[in-house]
Amino acid sequence: MSTLERRYQRLIRLFYPAGYRREREGEIVGTYLDLAAPDKKRPSWREVADLAAGGVRQHVRATEVTELRPGLRLAGLLAMATATALAAMWALIETAPLSPEITRHVPHVGPFRALGIGVWGLWLLAAFLFALRPQWSRPAIGVALIATVAVVPLSAVTEVSRPPLFILLPQFVLGVLALAAGHMPRVERLIPLAVGAAAAAILRPRIDYALIYFSETPRFVMTATGLILLTVALLLAAALGMTGRSRGGWALLLLLGPIGLVTVPELSVAITANLYDEHNATYRGMAATAALVIVTATGLLLVALALHQRLRPHTRCAACGSPIRGKTPPAHV
């Protein structure tokens, strides 16, 4: 085997899914070698880019033949509903009047005491567009995502308080997942708006005065939201699983990360209380818990994908034994 051949193989192993490699590695490498000049020693950067793009296409294609794509859409819808509910509740918390006991000066922007109201307003606008103007929902979610990130440096410059990172990070991750919601019937598109309105209606009577994000109520709001999302995802996975569809299971797997991030303050306290007898949510504890959640959720998803690829039965041609691809295998003799 030549050095050039080994280099092409290495690139294919780097970029392509395992199942596809087993099927096509020899063919692709052979074609590259047929095209190569006799004195060629290494792949060009154009060939590396071609293989990288081809690998991405195959990874996407691999999701199309499973229920992962529908699962991603379902997870996107649930993520959008959760992001809307949280935005509605945070907007309520920020716009409630200040307690008369607070006499010191609180920096503010216009009538608001924190920059978060702009972020939550954009999320609620995104929910409206998600329901009523689907073609604008992705740009609107994109703008809300940018605002969720931009509020951090803006707060540093203006010295006006902002929502803490343990609230902004799950909102951002939920928003990214919501981008995958895609096209769906109008009734389903109304779900985030309905969930947001219900969450605000439940929370409103319980808020007399503006609350700071580090108090018990926001922590309770996040834990309750995370548990409700987990319960809904579990029920959907079970219900769809009983009809032989795995999209609910994929949605649950995709939502594990966001659920973990939404409940980070509670998870962090649970972990530090057990390990270090520390019963308050500290910044360091929450950062470590968030990292643990991201690594675990990503790892679980990757393991599930790898297992699915490995266990998926391959159809082979009875005549020549070569793999037959596609949703409806064509006649192959």
Partner: protein, 120 residues
């Protein structure tokens, strides 16, 4: 498969309408058909072939091993032939319509060369 077909897809189907070809043969034939304008790279070619096989427009014809390397030959399926014929007919009608309109236009005048100072 969505129509109108993209040019590389159209050229791959056209190349396979002649005879079954393997990857390298397809790349050289597509380049020849397009006068070197369309150069497919293997990563792009096999992605396109996967889509065409999934859509039932292309089928695996046979396999052979040359210099210890697998060569898989592809052929146009009956459905692929129908799609290619329909696409060719659509393009032919467009070409005819454009040609008829162009005939009615006055002959295009070539721009006269501009003389710059120093040459006069």
């Amino acid at each position: 498969m969505e129509t109108p077909l993209r040019e590389p897809t159209f050229l791959i189907l056209t190349a396979l309408a002649g005879e079954p070809l393997h990857g390298y043969g397809l790349i050289t034939e597509v380049s020849r058909l397009s006068d070197g304008r369309v150069t497919l790279r293997p990563g792009t070619l096999y992605g396109a072939l996967d889509r065409l096989v999934d859509a039932g427009l292309v089928e695996v014809d046979h396999e052979e091993v040359v210099d210890s390397r697998l060569r898989r030959y592809y052929r146009l399926s009956p459905q692929g032939g129908t799609t290619l014929a329909a696409e060719t007919e659509r393009m032919r009608r467009n070409v005819e319509a454009a040609t008829a309109r162009l005939r009615r236009l006055p002959r295009p005048q070539l721009p006269r060369p501009q003389l710059t100072e120093g040459w006069t």
